[in-house]
Amino acid sequence: MQKTLSGRTSASPVAVPRPSLFNRKTGWVLLFIAGVIWALLQAGLLQHDFVNPGGWERVRRFLAAGLNPDLSPDFLRLTLDVTITTLAFAVCGTFFSLIFGFVAGIFASEVWWQSILPGRVGGRSLYRAPWLAVRSVLAFLRAIHEIIWGLFFISIIGLDPLSAVLAIAIPFGAVTGKVFSEILDEMPRQPYLVLRNSGVPPTLALTYTLVPQAFLDALSYAFYRFECSIRAAAVLGIIGAGGLGHEIFLSLQSLRYEQIWTLFLALFALNGLTDLWSGLLRRRLGAKLSCSGADCVDIDSPMSGTATLQLYRYDRVVRASLIIAALLIPFSFWYIQPNFGKLFSERTLLHLGEVARWAFPPDFSQLPLSEWLELSAVTVAMSLLAIAGAGLLALVLSFPSAHNFLLPGGLLVPSTAGLFHRTLGWAVLLIARSILLVARSIPPPVWALLFIFVLFPGILPGAAALGMYTLGILGRLMAEVVENLDDRPLTALKALGARGGDIFTYGILPLSSPRFLAYGLYRWEEAIRATVVVGLVGAGGLGHLLTEQLSSFDYQGVFTTLIVFVTLIFLVDQISAAVRRTFREN
């Protein structure tokens, strides 16, 4: 292949010089490898054994219990009840995060600020400062994990279900706001400018032009958020929101493996069905973005215009989904009964004042600088190991999980494939997808408590727990990328007689890798954020410090640690933006 390439270059009229091997891209790759090696050293590589052979007996017992889940009628009734609770929390959380996100999205969009403050001062656009300020507020809100939000709301609102709903709504609303603002900014602006030039005020003009234009992409994203909310609702069970997470933790505390498996199965079913529904709907909406979370990936070709909207109004899946959603929302509010009166009650304000008094001012002198750096290093090392492991495994699992890959008519299947090939294709797809489903359904703290049996304590079990969870989500997102690939160059390659391996290496891989990278970076930020919930397995880091401070009711300490944590996430955000910029240049 090398030969043909060089042959082709010499034949072409303009000779393209071969790019140097030492460019910024390879620089980042080398830096990443160095980072992973550093993280492994932090985790104690070469210093002690990682795997605890004594733990396998426990694992065997745990897995054996999987064949024999607790199916007694009482426990099944409990499981059904808590499954609906988790679903209801997710629905209510998503509902508010979308309202918050859509409003915040408008006020975090560049286009809105540009219209409000069109002037320039000293060669710089006037709007930039307030625009960036709004975006930083959103970034701050989403950098804090749902569990921490949950504990915060319990301390001012109390045990009301509203606390858990808000714990999902605030960080997810902030993410949605960011993504929605980026979708708005990417939309063609002509209709908007027409209205603006005829004197319509910015917010109104936006509502009538860019917002409807962005509706489909936003709807698609909303359903992705719902998937995430289900997982968040499960984790929130730990702090008293009830639901599946709560029951899993109870059973885990007394090591009732049979019960854990029943609850796991419910969790798999809930996650699996939600993901299927959301996946199907988003495929129907055809939005290429399937854009996810903290940093919306470059949008390929956002659909726009009312024509497409018209088209999708008659799609059965879309219509059915909207109706189901419209029924689920009132049902969920009725089921969990959050008390909105508490939001602005006198008692809440009183407690808010108390907590604020205890938390301010942050006190960084509690720990010496070296200690802060050490804890941050542990946290970063854990997240790096998690994302490196998850990324590699996700790469392996994402292709067989994509339905356009090994199934009949798939990119790597010869058109003459027989029954055997077809069965094999389906089997591989199902296995790969099940692995990913299991990996993302089980909350990271539960993974951590399982890994601690087979891995010696330290950074590694924490990283493994985060890695499993990340693998599940990343693998699914990457499989969607493969399914959404522009198949024209690939079928062309196939028609020219290229073999499977060649199609993969020269077609699929280069086409999908930019988005893989974008998703990987996004999940890295998420992994850092989630180190909070695995801090207890002897892994240390900022997550452990935070847990200790929370159980000591050291509000000032919690506030201080959160500031350090958010700063760390901002730094990671900057690095990942720089990496993306480099790889976008050609």
Binding site: G44, N52, G54, G55, E57, R58, L78, L151, I154, S155, I156, I157, G158, L159, D160, I238, I239, G240, H246, E247, F249, L250, L252, Q253, S254, L255, Q259, R313, I323, A326, L327, I329, P330, F333, W334, Q337, P338, N339, F340, G341, R347, H351, I452, F453, V454, L455, F456, P457, G458, L536, V537, G538, G540, H544, T547, L550, S551, S552, F553, D554
Partner: protein, 307 residues
């Protein structure tokens, strides 16, 4: 357009329903019952088999309701910090706290009262355990804890009295700091998990609640070829029921005494009441007071769990 209208009305309807959802129960409560019988909200995080109590709390709630003459509602919570916080903001009226969490709760709610504890709680112990493979030998004197230096070690839940606070206190008495262990000490999350983690060798040693250890050994659930008990700590006060000060205001001055009486009169010969005692792993309940927890508070301050 028509469909849009339907969708919009469904959405609006959902909002209205949501709004009604919280208004309705409050209205009912006000109409049906006088204000004095708003329910007594209780919660508990027991030291063993928490899932049994959390899922069968109906028995305790109905017993108390019968004895006290007010409706009793049980709210399950799994997280110690969350239950202390809920007690502070007034969402939980009376909670079965551990020694440390009880003190933390009382410090955040001045005038809150420790009412009753189990017979075993005035004389509670932790046990230190280790794998046989670690080479750590059982000992009689607190100084033996120095053997743990250089080994891996796990506590239970981070705010557990018997699984964390007192073990850490006795360790420091023997001159062992958390930095003396190999790696960072772990927090297994529960007493059962501590046994399992030490048994499997993930950690070489650990500390937990004596009664969980004794129960698991008696039930034959611990592999004594793998793990052995090193030492039982001196006694201290642990679990107890703590009540908010406003209960007297709400239900009458004698209400705290009525609660105490209700627990003291739990009769092991009555099958229903025996079941409640069993849920708590108690023979009987005895009265207690805030003063009994002065040592726990001092240790909590020393270790930094109380600020």
């Amino acid at each position: 357009m028509f469909k849009k209208l339907i969708l919009m009305s469904l959405l609006l309807g959902s909002l209205l329903l949501a709004a009604c959802g919280d208004a309705a129960p409050a209205a009912e409560g006000a109409a049906a019952e006088p204000a004095s019988t708003e329910p007594l909200v209780i919660s508990a995080i027991p030291d063993q088999d928490p899932e049994v109590l959390q899922r069968q709390f109906g028995q305790l709630a109905s017993y108390l309701s019968e004895q006290l003459g007010v409706p009793v509602e049980y709210k399950p919570v799994t997280d110690y910090a969350a239950s202390v916080t809920a007690f502070r903001v007034g969402d939980l009226d009376m909670v079965w706290f551990g020694g440390l969490t009880g003190v933390q709760a009382r410090l955040q709610v001045p005038e809150a009262q420790a009412l009753v504890q189990r017979d075993i709680d005035e004389n509670f112990h932790s046990v230190f355990i280790a794998t046989k493979a670690s080479g750590i030998e059982p000992f009689e004197d607190i100084d033996g804890l120095a053997q743990l230096k250089g080994h891996t070690f796990t506590f239970g839940s981070d705010s557990s009295t018997s699984g964390r606070l007192m073990p850490q206190y006795f360790l420091s008495q023997a001159g062992v700091t958390l930095d003396d262990f190999k790696g960072e000490p772990g927090f297994s999350g529960s007493h059962d998990a501590t046994i399992a983690l030490v048994e499997s060798g993930s950690y070489e040693a650990g500390a937990l609640n004596e009664s969980v250890w004794d129960n698991r050994v008696a039930a034959g659930e611990v592999d004594l070829d793998q793990v052995q008990i090193l030492w039982r700590t001196p006694p201290y006060h642990d679990y107890h029921w703590v009540a908010r000060p406003d209960l007297a205001e709400r239900y009458g001055d004698d209400f705290p005494d009525k609660i105490t009486q209700a627990f003291l009169s739990l009769d092991p010969n009555n099958p229903d009441q025996k079941e409640i005692l069993d849920l708590f792993g108690a023979e009987k309940f005895i009265a207690t007071s805030n003063d009994n927890y002065a040592q726990i508070e001092a240790v909590g301050r020393e270790i930094g769990k109380i600020n």
